[in-house]
Every structure is written in structure tokens, then in C-alpha cells.
Subunit: 547 residues, 2 copies
């Protein structure tokens, strides 16, 4: 019994040690940190996307649902992580990883992120964040300024005001969109007369009180899937997210938008929010924001712009005009972990009017007391870390002009790639880049000629095989691990709105070279011919049609 | 013009460099990293909570809403951060910082978090996370196992199943609670006959279809404020979060709960969810979960347990019995960034039934395709980082037995402090610790004697002054920067449910010593006497009453 107690005390002592600051720079932890850095540098320099282990094989290393009873040495566990996790993860910062918006990171963020992790501030309240609160408010101010360009007195008045907020930092674009639409819903159904507002009384009583037959949110058919999720969460219903058709450039059709508004009004359905897309996730196109703002103003709709991806382009004075009208939005979503090059978890929603957030304000006794500057009184999330710090550092270290260069060259590179694709006899550009995103597919030259003269039935058959071929190429290329493009489905007008699988490319990594882009196409062409189903079938059809 | 172009090219080249892996260990970034580590170690060793700069002064350093035009050197900006941010932040891991749940971190997480930041995986989909996806699924499995203790075949079947999920990782307890209640709402109002379900059709049509007059969520009056926020976001309305009175131990009163259910049913209001609290934020008490589960089962309510804080105690076999009944919950919220000692941003919701998440499933063309193992198809958030990795590492390195020791000693320390407070003639324990959280206040000995014999009016007057004194002491102590306790408001039965300000203490930091606890009381006693308003007034009243 005495021995047991002594053993427990010894264990506790060694547990205390892990919470104590390691004193010597050459401590065990210091050595482990060096080993990690070297391993990571090696991994990141290898420039290979993934290993050839299948997911099923990897799952075997992560299959035990028991929390281990006994402790492990940090060094042993680090070895496990490096071998089983790091080596089997995706090299998202490779210049050959051009399929998603998850971006390469500037290396100065590695040492700086140490500050964020070690201080472990909780920005929900001043008591656990102190200087991180003014810092976050300043970052939100900078983003507000980037969008709305108000004068100095405006920011002097509102940036640090306890009762106001220029926006909210959050984990990502989805939470940002939900927050914006939550504000919009609560504003549209606010307290009046004896009705205490939707926040207090709920949607059922709110809609009855206002006498509507239902609510709706309007967005183009290219809107991000998070908007459907928002409509579900907020109790609006996915069906009430009304998708308006787009033109040949994937932008919302204003005539169809007007029709939609009229139809809804005729049915006594209140469209309380209109969402403009500034950089669609699938094609990178930007809605006609000014024309949308006109309609939103006229109809009393909250105008939200989902610029999760495209918003970073405001940092370039050369790209800025493409987003004209964004300064008329009531709220804007921007993800800094996309083209602002900071790590995952840096979403933001910015509000034009600093008092708009009062629609979602809440307080509690032990924190978020009225009059405090606690950020948590107007965010969807509660406890949150100090991620704003990394955006703050990047904005300062890269500077606006630095971002301008990075963003401009990504657009130039996308234009270069679009031209390169258009020049190939066997590739087809599906959507031209407006910013640094484009889509295309592989169509053998003969197939293209055959398609042009085929009967409608033959066209359908060819189209189906081309879709199969696109899926085959994308999967096989991803598995080969040299290059990575993503894949989506579009309905191009010139293909009679047939559901069309396409390759999708985002050229945000500054290190992606022209040689890499050429290599991506060459590899896809090679892979196509390895298809034992779609390719031979396509060729047989083509021969029959061309005779 | 040529010169301009050359200059831009040179700038671009230097921008490229920041995305390139630094080659030498003695590179500039390496040196900066060392400087940061040393500075952080100094700051964290100083064991002082905050500096004496006021928030207003700090705000001056964060007041410019312009994104700087020109870039800065990393070294210069780092200096700014160390001086203006780090030095003005809150030392949340100090053993004297015992006011909040934001915890101290084991130091092995510093090097390991480097892996998370550098790899920058996006766990929304396999394509950007690979091994991080099985890892996260395993962590969710471990937590599920901790709560529900199912057998190996269960986890073999469901842990890595594409169509199922044992839970969702998220940024924190608020998102976890919203997710759980979102699932509950969608299950309660699911598709039937020609109705497509609330997710598709929205709340208004759902409630009409089901023929209810309204919905409700039931929780004790000690429920976390995020539940009100959830009720608002989900369209239920804050008023429809029904607060049931608690007993003298801050636990929901089962008799009152039964009454509440009856009253709601009589009004044709559907209580679709019952929330048990396992560790209230303000007093740390645990609801009678088994009795609640009985009622939830009988009434067909979704039973959610908010164990954001208390859930970690399941890692101790000695504390586990206090949470009996949690294994009957349909869903459970646990925050690993509380007593599992990982950095901010590690919330989780765990579901008993692996197919329950289908209530909130969603898909998109370019990601989250049906049949994929993408985690993003059943989370509220979209893009997310690899935070699960740090919990995985901590569970492995500390081990269950290590956590048991940490958690048990925190409870012992709370009991020690409760006894210490009870022994003081001039302190009053308000709520006893059930886990490692307790509340108390300062009441001079004479005041206590006077209160006992005072008239009701005199009691009110004394009570008001004591409240003022509590606020004064807590603020002044925080500002002095040596020790930190938080403050909340309770309505203790023995004080006739008067609104009572109290000190709130969370003893999660393993390095907090008995000497520190004594010091906290001594300092509070000293500060009390410095009050130029509440203290002299209290004393004057006391003299009048005692004669």
C-alpha cells in the first residue's frame, strides 16, 4: 500500500515535469523538435504528393479504439507520427498539388505559430486573451477597410468599441456564411410590437407573426454547398435556398434573378437574403455584384457576398475591379487560409454596419458581461484560439504590395495555363480563369471531330464515355502521386447543359512552374491511353462515326 | 518601364523565397525561431499573469485599419509581436491562473504542433488529409469507447465506415452542442409520408406538418450559454430553451423536470431534446444522468449530455462513477482543450448510434461524394485543420493512467482548497467541488454574525455590499497580476436565492500548489480591506446591527 502510494507520487512527479518549461536548449524536447523539423523539411522538399499506401492499409495503423493504458515516450510516439502519419499525409504545399484551395504556407509562419500554440489564448474573452483581443479587432478592421474603404474616423470610432464589431473571426467559410445568414434572418424577423424577435421566439412564431408563407435565400446555382448547410441549420430548409441559373461564364443571370424574386413574392415567400459569389468554388467566377446590390436594396434583402476564396484578390489593386460592388454588401465572407496563405482555421465574416451584429448578441454571467470588449458576445463559436495573429503577421510581413504580386502572378499563370490547354488539339478548356481557377478536360482530337457530326444519341454516348475517362484520369493521376488536380461536375451551355466531369485547377502556389503545368497535361494524356475501358470504347465509337 | 518590370520580378523572386523550405538549420528563420523559443520560455517561466498595461493602452498599438503597403522583415515583426503581443497576453498556463478552464499545456505539444501547422492538412476531405482522416476517426472511436464502452467488433465495423461516423471533431463545445441539437431537431422532424423532412423543407413547414404548436429543448438553469445560442441559430428560439430549477447542489430537479415535460405536452409543445450537464460551467456539478435518461427514453426525447468540461473525467476510473448514465446519452459534447490538456480548438460531439449523423449528411460534386470517407459530409464546419493529431498524441504519450493521475489530483486539490476555505473564519464556500471546480466568497467574520441576526431589509443591504466587495476583490486581484480567479453569479438556496457574486476556481493546472492557494486567499483578504466603499460600509452596518 505504501509502495503503491510512492509509485503514484513518482508518476505524478514525472507528469508534473511535462507541464514544466524545458530549461536547456539541448533538452530532450529540443532534440526531438530538431528531428521533427528536419523530417518535415525533408518531407516538404521531396515534392511528392502522397505515398502509394492505400487508405485501407493506412487505416490498419489507426484501428484501435482503446485509449492506451500506459504512457509512451515522446520520442517513440514522435517516431510513430513521422512514419505513420507525416509520411502518409498529403503534401498540400507541393507546387504540383494544384487541385484545391488549401495553400502553400510561407515558412516564417512555422516559428510564429509557436507563439500562438504556446500562449494558448482563448479569444472568447479578454480575461484569457488580453492583447489578442485588440489584435483580432485590428485584423477585422483591416479586412473591413479592404472591402469598404471607410475613413479613419470610422475605424477610430468602431474598431475597438465594446458594443460594436466589424466582423467575426471563425474557423472557416462555412461558419462565416452561417453567421452572416443568421444575422440576416434575425434582422428580417426582428422584434416589433409585442413580438420579441426570432432569436427569442423562434422561426415558427416569427413567420406566423410576419404573415409570410415561408422564407427564402437566393443564390446562383454555383453557390457553395455550405449555403445549403446554412439553410438547413438555420431552419430555413435546403429547398428554400433558391438556385438561380447562371450564364455561360457561371455568373448569376440577372433576368432570372428578377423572375425568381417576382415568383417568390407572388407566393408570399420572403426572400430575406441574396448571396453573391465572388469566386465560385468550382469555376472561380464572380457574380455581377453591383446589379445584385441594386436588386437587394430595392427589395430590402440582406446582401451577402461569399468571397471565401476570391476575397483575397482585393489585396491587389489590379484584380480589385473584378469584385466591384462588393463594397455594397451587408456582409462578406473571406477565408484567410485560402489565398492569404495562412494555416487552416482562419475564416472571417465582415459586416458593413458595425451595429449589425447586435442581431446575434448574447451574454452570460461569468463572461461576456454587457459593456465588456469580449469578442465572444457576437460570434457563433465560443472558445477560440489566437489564429488572427498569424493573419496579422502575414499582412505585415508580406505587405499589401507583396500580396498584390502573389495574386497577380497566380492570375497570369492561370491565363498561361488556359492558353496552353486551348493550344492542345486533345484538351478542351471548359471554364476560362477569371482569377486563378480554371476547368478543362481531355478530349482526343478524333473524338472531338466525331462529336461535332454525331447524332444526338451518339453525342450522349460519347459524352458518357468522356466523363468516365475524366474520372479515370483524375483518379489514376492522384494515385500515381506526382501531380494532383481535382475534379467537379459542370453543365456547360455549349454542351447543352449535359452533366460534364471536368478537371479543376487552382494556381495559388507561387512555386508552380510552367514546366509543371506542361507535365500535368503530358501525364494526363499518357494516363488516358492506359484506360482499358473508356478510351478503347471512345475510339471505337469515333471510328464508326468518322467512317 | 523595363526597370519597373525588373523590380517586380526581383520582388516576386524574394516572395518565392518565403515559400521555399529553409535549407540550413542556421538560417535566419532558424535563428528567429530560437529567439522566439527563448522569449516564450522566459515569459512562461516568469509566472506572472499579465502586465500592468490597460486595455486602452494596448489598443493604441493595434489601431491602424490599413494593411501595410510595404513588407516587413520577419525579424522586425517578430520583435514587435514579442514586445506588444506576447508581453501583453495572458499567461493562461500559470499555476496561479486558476479562474478559467483554459488549461496549461504539456510541453511536448510545442514541437508536435509544428507537424500540424507545417503539413496544413484540410480534414474536410481525404484528398487533402489522407492519413489525418483515419487518425481523426480513431480519436473519435477512442472517445466513443470512453463513453459507451462497446466491444471490438462494434469499432471494427463503424470506426472507418464511409456511411457512418462516431462523431465530429470541431472547433469547440459550442459547435459541438449546436451539431448535437441540429441532429436531434432533424431526427425529431424527419421525412415522413409526403413531407421531406425539416432539413429540406424548413422549420415552419415541419412544425405545421407534425401538428405541434412549438418545439422546446429542456436543460437545467445551470446549462451553458451556448445552448441559448443553439436554440437561436437552429430557429427554436431562446425562449424555447426551457430552464428547469436545480437543487442545492446545482443539479436539475427531477420533479421539476417531470412537471416541465407535462406542462409542455399539455400545450402541444414538443420537447425534442433533453440536455444533461456533466460539469456545469459555473459550479462543476453533474446532473443525475440516469434519471434523466429514463425520462428521455420514456418521452422519446433526444438525450444530449454537455460534458464539454467534465467529460475528461471519464479517463479516470475513480471519477467515472460520478458520470454514471452518460453511456445512455444519444450524444455527448467533450472539449479536449479543457482537461485533456491540448491547445484551443479541439471540441468533439460523439454519437451513440453511428448512423445518427445521416440526419445532417450533405454532399457536393467536387468533394464529399457519396461513398467517400470524407469527414466533411457530416460536420457543421467545412474546411478544418488536423487538430485531432494533438489529442491523439496526448492520449498516447500521457496514457489513460497518466490522465487518471492528473484528474484525480485536481479533484483532491479542489477538496483541499474547499476545506481550507471552510476553515477560514472570513471566507464562505458557496459550492462544494464535485470535480475540480468550486465557488466561494469573502465575508468578514463580524459581517457573518451580523447577517445571522439581521432583519430582512438589513440582510438585503449587507448582501448587496458583499456583492460589491466580491466584484472589487476579483477585479483588483486580476489587475495586480499575481493571481487570477474568475467570477460568476449564483442564486444559492441558503441565501434565499438572492443573486450572489462569487469567486470561481478551476484547479486543472497540475503545478498549482497548496502554497499558491493559501496565497490567493491571503491576497484577497488584503485587497478587501483596501476597498474604500464596500468594506467600510459593510463594517458600519455590522457595527450598527451587533450594537
Amino acid at each position: 500500500m505504501v509502495n503503491e502510494k510512492k509509485k503514484a507520487e513518482a508518476s505524478l512527479k514525472s507528469l508534473h515535469r511535462i507541464f514544466t518549461v524545458p530549461e536547456a536548449p539541448h533538452s530532450t524536447l529540443g532534440t526531438i523538435e530538431q528531428a521533427i523539423s528536419q523530417n518535415l523539411n525533408r518531407f516538404l522538399q521531396d515534392h511528392i504528393i502522397a505515398t502509394d499506401y492505400s487508405l485501407t492499409e493506412i487505416e490498419k495503423d489507426f484501428s484501435d479504439a482503446n485509449v492506451p493504458e500506459q504512457p509512451s515516450f515522446v520520442s517513440d510516439h514522435t517516431e510513430f507520427l513521422l512514419e505513420k502519419l507525416v509520411a502518409q499525409s498529403v503534401h498540400t504545399s507541393s507546387p504540383r498539388f494544384i487541385g484545391h484551395m488549401t495553400s502553400a504556407l510561407p515558412y516564417f509562419l512555422m516559428p510564429l505559430s509557436k507563439i500562438m500554440i504556446a500562449l494558448n489564448q482563448n479569444t472568447v474573452k479578454i480575461e484569457t486573451s488580453k492583447a489578442f483581443t485588440p489584435l483580432e479587432r485590428q485584423v477585422l478592421g483591416m479586412l473591413h477597410n479592404l472591402i469598404y474603404q471607410r475613413d479613419k474616423p470610422f475605424y477610430d470610432n468602431w474598431m475597438h468599441s465594446a458594443e460594436h464589431s466589424l466582423g467575426a473571426f471563425c474557423s472557416g467559410g462555412t461558419i462565416a456564411n452561417i453567421t452572416a445568414l443568421w444575422v440576416a434572418r434575425n434582422e428580417a424577423l426582428k422584434a416589433n410590437a409585442d413580438f420579441k424577435g426570432v432569436a427569442e421566439e423562434g422561426l415558427f412564431r416569427a413567420i406566423k407573426h410576419y404573415g409570410y408563407d415561408d422564407l427564402a435565400i437566393i443564390v446562383s446555382e454555383r453557390g457553395h454547398y455550405s449555403l445549403k448547410k446554412s439553410a438547413d441549420v438555420l431552419g430555413i430548409g435546403r429547398e428554400s435556398l433558391i438556385a438561380v441559373p447562371t450564364d455561360e461564364h457561371n455568373r448569376i443571370r440577372i433576368d432570372k434573378l428578377e423572375e425568381t424574386v417576382e415568383t417568390l413574392k407572388a407566393k408570399n415567400i420572403k426572400p430575406f437574403a441574396l448571396v453573391g459569389v465572388a469566386g465560385t468554388t468550382e469555376t472561380g467566377n464572380i457574380d455581377p455584384l453591383n446589379a445584385m446590390a441594386d436588386i437587394a436594396e430595392r427589395e430590402g434583402m440582406h446582401f451577402h457576398v461569399d468571397a471565401a476564396w476570391g476575397g483575397a484578390s482585393l489585396l491587389s489593386n489590379n484584380q480589385r475591379p473584378k469584385l466591384n460592388g462588393i463594397e455594397r454588401a451587408d456582409s462578406v465572407t473571406i477565408d484567410a487560409h485560402k489565398q492569404m496563405y495562412v494555416p487552416m482555421g482562419a475564416g472571417m465574416v465582415i459586416f458593413k454596419d458595425p451595429s449589425l451584429v447586435s442581431a446575434i448578441e448574447h451574454h452570460a454571467d461569468y463572461i461576456l458581461r454587457k459593456g465588456s470588449k469580449d469578442l465572444g458576445s457576437h460570434t457563433l463559436e465560443g472558445s477560440r484560439g489566437g489564429m488572427a495573429m498569424l493573419l496579422f503577421a502575414s499582412l505585415n510581413i508580406i505587405g499589401r504590395q507583396g500580396y498584390e504580386l502573389l495574386i497577380d502572378q497566380s492570375v497570369e499563370k492561370a491565363n498561361y495555363f488556359a492558353n496552353l490547354i486551348a493550344e492542345q488539339p486533345d484538351f478542351e478548356l471548359i471554364s476560362e480563369p477569371e482569377l486563378c481557377l480554371l476547368t478543362y478536360r481531355y478530349v482526343p482530337e478524333d473524338v472531338r471531330r466525331a462529336f461535332a457530326i454525331a447524332t444526338p444519341d451518339q453525342k450522349d454516348a460519347i459524352h458518357k464515355r468522356l466523363n468516365d475517362l475524366t474520372v479515370f484520369i483524375q483518379k489514376r493521376q492522384r494515385e500515381a502521386g506526382q501531380n494532383f488536380v481535382s475534379r467537379t461536375t459542370l453543365t456547360p451551355n455549349y454542351l447543352d447543359r449535359r452533366s460534364t466531369h471536368v478537371f479543376r485547377v487552382v494556381l495559388a502556389n507561387p512555386l508552380t512552374t510552367k514546366a509543371i503545368l506542361q507535365d500535368v497535361l503530358d501525364e494526363q494524356r499518357d494516363i488516358a491511353k492506359q484506360s482499358t475501358l473508356a478510351y478503347p470504347e471512345l475510339m471505337a465509337m469515333t471510328r464508326r462515326i468518322l467512317g
